[in-house]
């Protein structure tokens, strides 16, 4: 199996199969644009991803390497957040900081499946919570004045009627 080298922001080099790495559109584009061969000893630098997160991302890619290509954004009309496979559910049982780092890495590396799964995990953490609970969970500072907050609440009170 042809392999390539990826270098994280802190200098660690990962030797990975090309098929696994090509799940990242960013890496695939780099390989095509730079005309890099699989036999090249030179590692592809990924300055925005540290070794811990890159290791996890590559682990995810390894598991999902045989998955069919995800549909384009315009084609998907589903809004399900509970259709994650068992591997993804366990893989994403991490602390919030790591979860958001995975989202940033998936966004930078353009790995739609991982971005999808991690955003759905965050969405599940938000669903059903009140605004105050969301603020506590995600450490969001409330910058509304009391009057603004009341106005926004009144404006949106229709969604609570069911």
């Amino acid at each position: 199996m042809p392999k390539i080298k990826l270098q994280s922001s802190d200098g660690e080099v990962f030797n990975i199969e090309v098929d696994v790495a090509k799940q990242s559109i960013t890496i695939r584009t780099m390989l095509e644009d730079l005309g890099m061969d699989e036999d090249d000893d030179e590692a592809i630098p990924l300055p925005n991803v540290n070794s811990a997160i890159l290791g996890k991302v590559l682990n995810w890619c390894q598991f999902h390497k045989d998955d069919p290509a995800p549909p384009e954004d315009e084609e998907t009309t589903e809004k399900r957040t509970d259709d994650l496979c068992g591997f993804d559910i366990d893989f994403l049982k991490v602390d919030q900081g790591t979860l958001f780092e995975l989202i940033l890495a998936a966004n930078y590396l353009d790995i739609k499946g991982l971005l999808d799964a991690s955003c759905k995990t965050v969405a599940n953490m938000i669903k059903g919570k009140t605004p105050e609970e969301i603020r506590k969970t995600f450490n969001i500072k409330n910058d509304f004045t009391p009057a603004e907050e009341e106005q926004v609440r009144k404006e949106n009170s229709w969604c609570e009627e069911k």
Binding site: Q96, G97, C119, G128, P131, N139
Partner: protein
């Protein structure tokens, strides 16, 4: 002179022949009753919980403590099959109702285990919600027992995962309200009723005591540190407008994101169709400048919102079997030769929670 024994005034006992010789039937009945009582007491008494405070309850209800009742409602002996054949000979749903009850469906399709599957959680919650709203007072004893088993399982799951706390709290509250409003229609004794109310109270308290893990400043990225495209992508994951609005109400940045017209347009067309939109507009859609959030608010009052579930119950149209999507069922159709199979009949049909309840109870 006839022999007059000690029991000469009685009509005489009935004797039956057993393996161990001739025995009086009254003695056998006494032994049987003693055996049944012993088994029942063993099941009910179990380990006594000394911390449970049950004032003003009689002796029978003292035995029915929360722990004991929760033990008795476990259906561990029932075989776990995940499909149910609907009786085919009955033509009307009324006749079918005599053979198929809500309790039978809940037990046969193992809703308790289904609740622990994240893909089926919302589906099961919706079915339970519909049963509680519309058919609570008509449930038989075993169905009521199993329903409480499902609710307890739900509380355990939510306690572990810390997700969907409000969903389950609402469900418990509705159950409690129904129990209070339909008090005279309940099956069982006063002690059981009191105990069930007490259980519901305990479960509500357990959910209220779930403390949210607050995010600390650990130097790692937060939700606000994500790029705007990721935050927009996150908001597009929600199918319930309430979730979008709650995020929008957290701070000014999310308020702007949550007011995005494109987000509301996608949400609108997820729940409603163009035909439904046209019904409220005066001219063609293309000539209108539409406030999608406002339009959503307007159509929400007229039409039902779309419900989508990852894993649902399905009905096989050939063998009339109800089964879980992933588990399959032993269909008679596939046992036929390929040449005999009728491919024109649609094989399976998804059953929404309302469809399921309609099949059982109409």
């Amino acid at each position: 002179m006839p022999f007059i024994g000690k029991d000469w005034r009685s009509p005489g006992g009935l004797w039956v022949r057993t393996n161990s010789g001739w025995q009086k039937i009254s003695a056998i009945r006494k032994n049987l009753n003693r055996h049944i009582k012993r088994v029942a007491l063993e099941r009910i008494s179990g380990a006594q919980d000394s911390d449970t405070n049950l004032k003003d309850q009689d002796k029978a209800s003292k035995l029915l403590t929360a722990k004991n009742v929760s033990k008795t409602v476990k259906f561990t002996e029932r075989p776990k099959r995940h499909y149910l054949f609907l009786p085919t000979k009955c033509l009307t749903s009324k006749q079918r109702g005599k053979y198929l009850t809500v309790g039978e469906v809940l037990c046969s399709l193992d809703f308790c285990t289904a609740l622990s599957d994240p893909r089926r959680f919302h589906y099961v919650c919706k079915v339970i919600e519909l049963i509680i709203e519309e058919h609570f007072s008509t449930l038989c004893g075993s169905a009521m027992k199993y329903l409480f088993c499902i609710l307890e399982e739900g509380v355990n799951i939510v306690e572990l995962s810390h997700l969907f706390i409000h969903r389950l709290s609402t469900l418990l509250k509705r159950t409690k309200d129904k129990m209070l409003s339909d008090k005279n229609k309940q099956i069982g004794c006063q002690a059981l009723y009191n105990c069930r109310l007490h259980l519901l109270g305990l479960w509500e308290k357990r959910l209220q005591e779930i403390s949210l893990v607050e995010r600390e400043d650990d130097g790692k990225p937060t939700l606000q540190d994500l790029p705007v495209n990721c935050q927009r992508f996150l908001l597009q994951c929600f199918s319930d407008p309430a979730d979008v609005i709650h995020v929008a109400e957290t701070n000014k940045h999310f308020y702007i994101l949550g007011s995005d017209p494109l987000l509301w347009e996608k949400l609108f067309f997820y729940h409603f169709t163009e035909a439904q939109l046209q019904a409220v507009l005066r001219g063609p859609i293309t000539e209108q400048k539409i406030d999608w959030k406002l339009m959503f608010k307007r159509l929400m009052k007229r039409y039902e919102q779309t419900e989508e579930y990852t894993s649902m119950l399905q009905q096989c149209m050939r063998c009339n079997c109800i089964f879980w999507q992933e588990d399959g069922h032993p269909c008679c159709h596939f046992s036929l030769d390929e040449t005999l199979r009728d491919t024109t009949i649609l094989c399976t049909k998804d059953l929404s929670p309302k469809d399921l309840i309609a099949i059982i109870t109409d």
